[in-house]
């Protein structure tokens, strides 16, 4: 298996790994696919309609962890609607994710969509 320098960098120095300190105005959701051996929990903090911060916890292969880091890193500063408009294809290209692993990154989309649903309920 080949890994891009971007995957290696994010594995070594993840930018958004962990949990947000403030629970105020935040929502979190998880998604998993046991057959693919991946799990992710995404937590976002909103101020009005804007995502001000985002973090994740994840279990899986290097491409999955790097994908979560790449996708979640781009959420801060975006409108909440961005949670349902994730550019997984861009992540696949940026990280050079092999075709057989693209399905794993869709699990991150699921977690973000679940997050968005929780936010819309609480709004």
């Amino acid at each position: 298996m080949e890994y891009s320098s971007e995957v290696r960098r994010r594995l070594e120095r993840p930018s958004c790994r962990g949990v947000l300190a403030s629970a105020v105005g935040s929502a979190s959701a998880t998604a998993e696919d046991r057959s693919l051996n991946v799990w992710v929990r995404v937590q976002v903090e909103v101020d009005g309609e804007t995502l001000v911060a985002a973090r994740y916890d994840a279990y899986g292969c290097p491409h999955f962890l790097a994908g979560a880091d790449w996708i979640v890193e781009r959420l801060a500063g975006q409108p909440a609607a961005a949670l349902t408009e994730v550019a997984t294809g861009d992540a696949v290209a940026a990280l050079d994710v092999p075709t057989e692993k693209i399905g794993k990154l869709l699990v991150i989309e699921d977690a973000l969509a679940a997050c968005a649903a929780k936010l819309s309920v609480s709004a």
């Binding site: 290696r8 594995l11 998880t30 051996n37 916890d57 279990y59």
Partner: protein
């Protein structure tokens, strides 16, 4: 390759011993024994003499007579010849084959092929230590059973099967017993003159010999049907020009292996590795610790993907399990057969030490693995239990 690299994948393959390489080189040029050993001229006779000497070296290592050694291209071919050759040669007896779910793919896939072609295959399961209870044969052997094939040392876990007890039960029922000994020769004792084993698969490259050469021990009196045709070499069982340099390399490698001293060195290294890794929170050793070959240590790191860990410590050459499975995304069939969940199996890594491994290598591997697991555990601090159990 980074500034420091450590090779802990000797169960996949080993570097060729310098003396072995030199012996091989002698057999490649006009000044040496390069000729076709089947040729009757002086050059050919010289090559034939080297082949003969190598055959004796291989035989001696396993307590066999030279005439019982058939050279092949490696253990995979040997396994194919053993299973397919025995089933075809004893067709009049029946078409029942017994093997285990933890075999190397060379046996698994061959058994599946035989099943597709009409054979009845019984798959033996193992316990959580990876061991097969020999007594189970009492219930599965029939008058139509042709062959039982159970590997000596598992390539993923290092677990040693009781081939003497298995062979005794086969012998009592006039059933042939085959074992794949690719991982065991040179590490633990194997003497075919002391245990009732009929057919043994061997390979050179796990023992500091060259790749592309192996052998099959066939006990005198046991008949196998050939899989290939086109010559009388190797008593017609394996036709084709013998690669003198490869054969000589295998002979030298087997002659230089010294289980008495090598196994103690390997055991010290392997136990030091385990003592260091065992300090990492949650780790577990896969497979029997008491019935194990000294060169393999299989460890699960719950909560950390094995693929991710291997990348994080990529300067240390380790394996997900069988190197033959390295290109697939499937969990190890061996570990899942032992009862591990897919997640635990996927979080497992095979370390395998060798003659050239040093204590410093081990300490470095422990340090780097510990650092990496600590770092990677931070990715999944709130992961659900299925990721860790």
């Amino acid at each position: 390759m980074t500034a420091r690299s450590v090779y802990l994948d000797h169960a996949a393959t080993t570097p060729i011993d310098a003396v072995v390489a030199a012996a091989m080189a002698e057999c490649m040029q006009l000044s040496g024994a390069f000729a076709n050993p089947s040729s009757t001229h002086a050059f050919g006779r010289e090559a034939a003499a080297r082949v003969s000497a190598a055959r004796a070296q291989v035989a001696e290592r396993i307590g066999a007579e030279p005439e019982s050694i058939v050279f092949t291209s490696g253990a995979t071919e040997s396994d194919n010849l053993a299973l397919r050759g025995a089933m075809a040669a004893r067709r009049a007896r029946g078409a029942h084959l017994v093997t285990s779910v933890t075999e190397h793919k060379a046996v698994l896939d061959t058994a599946k092929l035989l099943a597709e072609r009409g054979a009845s295959v019984t798959w033996l399961s193992c316990d959580s230590d990876g061991r097969i209870d020999p007594a189970v044969l009492d219930d599965v052997l029939t008058d139509e059973t042709v062959l039982v094939s159970v590997m000596h040392v598992n390539n993923e876990t290092g677990v040693v099967q009781d081939i003497a007890a298995l062979g005794e039960r086969c012998r009592a029922r006039n059933v042939l017993f085959h074992t794949d000994a690719a991982q065991s020769v040179g590490k633990i004792p194997l003497a075919v003159n002391r245990i009732p084993v009929d057919i043994v698969s061997l390979t050179a490259h796990k023992l500091h010999g060259p790749k592309g050469i192996g052998a099959l021990y066939v006990r005198p009196g046991v008949s196998l049907a050939p899989l290939q045709f086109g010559g009388e070499q190797e008593r017609g069982l394996r036709p084709g020009t013998l690669p003198t340099h490869q054969v000589v390399g295998m002979g030298e490698a087997f002659a230089r292996a010294d289980p008495a001293s090598d196994s103690e060195h390997l055991r010290v290294l392997r136990e030091r590795l385990w003592e260091g890794l065992a300090k990492i929170d949650g780790v577990r050793r896969n497979g029997s610790a008491t019935h194990s070959s000294p060169h393999v240590l299989n460890v699960a790191f719950p909560g950390v993907s094995g693929e991710t860990l291997r990348l994080a410590i990529e300067e240390i050459a380790v394996s997900a399990g069988s190197a033959c499975n390295a290109e697939t995304l499937e969990s190890s069939h061996v570990l899942t057969a032992m009862g591990l969940s897919d997640a635990l199996a996927e979080s497992s890594i095979r370390f395998s030490v060798g003659r050239d491994t040093t204590l410093d290598d081990i300490d470095y591997a422990v340090q780097r693995t510990t650092e990496a697991v600590t770092h990677l555990s931070g990715f999944a601090s709130s992961a659900p239990s299925w990721c860790t159990s």
